[in-house]
């Protein structure tokens, strides 16, 4: 395990890493692997555009994870515009994860030798901690890419159904599941 730095903003150097490191790595892998082109579902995300879009929102929060001199993960969440759909907490505020990504060299689906594991897990844990701090008791919601469905299920998220256009699986973390995730430490 190595130490990483969490930054509570997405700044120019992170976006430069997406353009100058993530994208070329991914493009090289996509060119080499047609099956990967069909499978890899997040390569169209333009992080500059996403950040610009959500920047004006007063409840938008941005996170970046760095280590080894490079941006390893990015996340954009919202603490005010979305609400729970799970019975038992319906209508209550939650932390909604708009986007979360790990660098392509960390993805087992992209490369045979992923470099860092746990980037996505840590970012989701940050979202859950943020939810606690906002007094939402750990409630978190998100739409998952189909390749990530098992990942969220293993973290304890409940699959509620499909939402959005095109429809993506909607997942929500209940207060109890949040307690289990963050543990007693």
């Amino acid at each position: 395990m190595i130490a990483a730095t969490m930054v509570d903003d997405i700044v120019a150097s992170h976006l430069a890493d997406v353009r100058g490191k993530w994208q070329p790595f991914l493009e090289e892998r996509l060119a080499a692997d047609a099956a990967l082109r069909r499978r890899e579902q997040s390569s169209h995300w333009d992080w500059q555009r996403k950040v610009d879009y959500y920047r004006p929102g007063i409840a938008s929060r941005f996170f970046a994870l760095e280590c080894d001199g490079a941006t390893q993960g990015l996340m954009i969440v919202d603490t005010a515009t979305m609400f729970c759909q799970v019975e038992g907490q319906k209508g209550k505020p939650l932390v909604y994860v708009h986007y979360v990504s790990t660098a392509p060299w960390n993805l087992p689906s992209v490369t045979d030798r992923p470099i860092y594991a746990g980037v996505g897990s840590v970012l989701i844990a940050v979202a859950v901690q943020l939810s606690i701090d906002e007094e939402f008791q750990g409630r978190v919601g998100l739409q998952a890419l189909p390749q990530a469905v098992e990942f969220y299920r293993r973290l304890g998220f409940s699959h509620i159904g499909e939402s959005g256009k095109p429809p993506l699986p909607y997942f929500e973390l209940t207060e109890e599941a949040a307690r289990r995730l963050l543990g007693g430490m």
Binding site: V7, D8, E66, G118, V119, V122, A125, L130, E150, G183
Partner: protein, 163 residues
């Protein structure tokens, strides 16, 4: 916001999420500590970094704490050559990692320091930019902080922390 967990907590989290035992040579991280400032909603247009304010701020906070650059680098776990360059070269832009660690070490808002160090654009009319101009124009460095320097520093820290 602080997410501070033990190494074994992270191992367990990652193992559960990945669904497989963790290979400790290939995982991240050892310890996460994220210090989050309240979102003061600074507008993000018109790049207007005040040259020298960040380096001067770091140098004064270091001296206020009676630390040599070597001691600060060691205790804050930042790169010594980078720290020296930041203090001496007003055009130097430090790594985000260094900015975050120094913000945490000195207990000032990370987001504000990111703006001051040139990583996030800052509106030249914002309270932080104005405070930075005043601060950067204030007295020359001496070994020990004078009363005036101390007051200027305290005023600037208040400005960083926001309303």
């Amino acid at each position: 916001m602080t997410l501070k967990k033990t190494r074994s907590w992270f191992e367990a989290l990652i193992a559960r999420a990945e669904g497989v035992p963790v290979d400790v040579r290939a995982t991240v991280p050892a310890e996460h500590e994220l210090h989050v400032s309240p979102n003061a909603g600074f507008p993000s247009f018109v790049p207007g970094v005040v040259h020298g304010a960040f380096g001067k701020f770091i140098q004064m906070m270091r001296r206020k704490n009676r630390l040599s650059p070597e001691q600060l680098a060691e205790r804050a776990n930042v790169d010594l050559p980078e720290l020296l360059q930041v203090e001496e070269d007003s055009g130097a832009i430090p790594s985000t990692r260094t900015v975050v660690l120094l913000a945490q070490f000195f207990g000032v808002p990370v987001k504000a320091l990111l703006q001051l160090s040139g990583h996030a654009t800052v509106d030249s009319s914002s309270p932080i930019a104005k405070a930075a101009v005043r601060f950067a124009a204030s007295s020359k460095s001496m070994d020990k902080l004078s009363a005036e320097e101390r007051e200027a520093l305290n005023e600037f820290v208040r400005a960083l922390e926001g309303p």
